[in-house]
Symmetry: C2
């Protein structure tokens, strides 16, 4: 197949590597000349251009820009595409993206390869990034069945595990396991910093070890990414946060009222059930 990739950072670059290894011809697009050159040097793409000319003949385009640029990118390329071309994206929130983009282009299939590293930019792309990772495809009733199948086959060729669900189901699931953890973890750091006894704060900073380190990790991540999750996945994240607040209030109540058996039952349940989330 002829495959276009717009945005040659971690996800776009890694897709390029693997799709070329599968025998496809990859046409990269970047805004920067130097990125285009480097993409060819690194072997991420067969060709790289700063305009959309090369997309005229491709079968599918992967939009691998930041989430807030996906819609405008689709808008900008559709005049250059052949009508059969599939457009897909790799954004980590799906409902608003799919809603808007399928209005622009009938043959749009939302996708979310759930793999990553802490790196970004043209040097970040790596081989086998998607191996054994979930690749979520989020069609709607309007999405052409054949296009879903084509994307599914490509995702499988990356050795990803493919999941197909609605954009709303995807967004609620990632709210629980990705976006909610960021907010509760950031709140942990922020509430510690609110300790008014300076001695206690300094002791807390000195005593903190692996428990605090792990629980606070995602709350110490990229702020812009955190805001984007909240902005794009506001509804599902708020639903998760409100359920979480209720759960937290139950824990506080158990401790206030010394309901130790009830607290132990809860902690026994969380200990047992955590394994279902850990692979």
């Amino acid at each position: 197949m002829k495959i276009g990739i717009i945005g040659l950072g971690l996800i776009g670059g890694s897709l390029g590597f693997d799709l070329r290894d599968c025998g496809h011809t990859v046409y990269g697009v970047s805004r920067k000349e130097s990125t285009c050159q480097r993409a060819i040097e690194r072997g991420l793409v067969d060709e790289a251009n700063m305009n959309f000319e090369s997309l005229k003949t491709v079968d599918i385009v992967f939009i691998c820009t930041p989430i807030n640029k996906i819609y405008s990118t689709v808008k900008n390329i559709i005049n250059d595409l052949s009508p059969n071309t599939i457009i897909t994206d790799v954004g980590s929130v799906k409902t608003p993206i799919v809603e808007q983009c399928e209005q622009l282009w009938d043959n749009f299939v939302g996708g979310h390869p759930m793999a990553g590293t802490a790196e970004q930019g043209i040097e970040a792309g790596q081989k086998n990034l998607f191996k054994n990772a979930p690749y979520v495809i989020t069609p709607t009733e309007k999405t052409p069945k054949n296009s879903i199948k084509i994307l599914e086959n490509l995702a499988q060729s990356l050795n990803s595990t493919v999941y197909i669900c609605s954009p709303e189901e995807h967004d609620q699931a990632v709210a629980w396991i990705s976006h909610l953890p960021v907010m509760i973890s950031a709140s942990l750091i922020a509430s510690c910093l609110g300790e008014i006894d300076r001695n206690v704060l300094i002791l807390a900073q000195q005593f903190a070890s692996s428990g605090f380190k792990d629980t606070s990790r995602v709350g110490g991540g990229n702020p812009q990414l955190g805001v984007m999750m909240a902005e794009y996945n506001q509804k599902a994240l708020l639903a998760a946060l409100q359920a979480y607040r209720q759960q937290l209030e139950q824990v506080i109540e158990k401790i206030e009222e010394k309901q130790w058996q009830s607290l132990e039952r809860l902690l026994t349940k969380t200990q047992a059930e955590r394994s279902r989330f850990i692979h």
Copy 2:
């Protein structure tokens, strides 16, 4: 010095190893014959007994039992000790322990070596467990100065970093960095499990990766230990939980009201300040 250690699990056993390496003579006490034998085989102690006879001549006794057995252990041994003997403990909460034990024994010094592994029991003890870890000593106004100094020297000989603070300061600091994380992490798991859409719950379990894994880790730990933290450190933990709830409500409000700049400022602050807790 002659040193007694009651309880030969992870902490007691590891103390035995290192204190013997420093040239001290270590007298272990355990309730079980087989544990006594194994402690000698492993080289954790010089002698091991099921009664308190051997403690008659020791200079200092480390109580390394679970936290809910510290007070009764002190009560049980004091008739067998010489009046100059220092008693110290290794409990992870200090205020109630120190309050009660110093009423039984003037020469009591509260302590908390903040090191550990997931292991427990007689096979868990290991050399150099306390190296570079905090060893917190929590005297009160009544604690004999010379006894503090002796414990401090012993802790330094384990290559620990010694901190001296009040029992209350210790408890509030560990509430922030150890006990609060357990409760918020368990609440994360419990709130996810409350998702009523079965499809979404299963997707969440399938999609969960390192972010969820890290944030949920301490909430999936030993339930009895979690309850004991809450029970013994109730006051400080509740103070931390209430401050945390307020912070969480601010985050929810920012997201509800689309205050993205304010959310970004918060996440920028937590990203920058987290490093003060990570060593």
